[in-house]
Symmetry: C2
Subunit: 189 residues, 2 copies
């Protein structure tokens, strides 16, 4: 049965577009059924408009707490008959309400080789630590932040002269590559 | 000036032999001037005998404390006019006595992509965490365990069906490759 994917994004949305591409021109069978954004006019929303993907704004500033926001997301994804959800740069901590609604079917992408560099600004943490290999991890979401079961990882070299932007770009190329793989793995259980 | 390398090993000594090979058949200019072992008849000692490398036994069980052991090592390496020291599977915590005698010239190899999986049984830790990329790190030794400046890292995939032995072997192949690179980097300052 073709997959109906939900995507959550707060920013530019390049991972969201990579997922759409994987359905339209790549190896995934199904579609991105709904994009949820929390920031009006973010890049992800504009990409959805260009690509003709349904999107909804759920502004966390208009919700009394994290739980209410997540409850609204769960309802939106259920209404769209979503099977699996990807947090593709969702800059909010999620609650058991969302995690419990999609057990083993909620995926996050994090720009480090977990368990190294959990939390905010993983690329900055990697540069500060002086690692020579950085990377990214697609994993299932558990209640501990950046600690769920790992699905796919990819490594990239840190080159001399790298700054935050250049290293982030190199990691992002790999994020676009591994996220569809992670979706396929999670969809197969 | 050709490098005079000291090596410390507790076990099988395959990293020690990889270093000897790099001097004899590879890219390093100089020699392994002295191997120190702490376990009599360990694999490293037998390799040194076969390869014709000077070696000394410094059994930690015969020293009253870590500091006295390290003081004996420093004296041994100084007598052998060693410039740079590699801990190639040295299963003892070292003290500021050794670290301070070879500032920025004491290298350790650790079987993980640091800062992930510091400490004992890094391979077991990686398997338990379910990472899909494991690896090794050659780094300068600082007083905090497995936390000094990183020189070289290499990643290997964790394959389905891997056990501790198979993953350890795959990592060790990369250790043999990156350790000579780390020696060259540290020797150049």
């Amino acid at each position: 049965m073709p997959l109906r994917l939900g995507v959550m994004a707060s920013g530019a949305g390049s991972n969201f577009e990579a997922l759409v591409d994987s359905f339209r021109h790549g190896s995934l069978c199904g579609e991105v059924a709904l994009l949820v954004v929390n920031n009006r006019d973010c890049g992800a929303q504009r990409r959805a408009e260009r690509l003709g993907i349904d999107w909804e704004l759920h502004d966390h500033r208009l919700q009394p707490n994290r739980e209410q926001l997540d409850q609204a997301l769960v309802q939106a994804f259920r209404t769209a008959s979503v099977d699996l959800v990807v947090m593709a740069g969702w800059m909010r901590v999620v609650t058991p309400i969302l995690i419990g609604a999609f057990p083993n079917r909620l995926i996050n992408i994090h720009p480090s080789l977990l368990p190294s560099f959990r939390g905010l600004d993983a690329v900055g943490q990697a540069l500060a630590a002086g690692v020579t290999l950085a990377g990214c991890t697609a994993h299932l979401v558990s209640e501990e932040v950046d600690a769920g079961r790992i699905l796919v990882q990819a490594a990239v070299p840190v080159l001399s002269g790298d700054d935050h932007a250049s290293l982030s770009r190199r990691i992002q190329v790999q994020e676009h590559r591994i996220l569809p793989l992670a979706v396929a793995l999670a969809a197969q259980g």
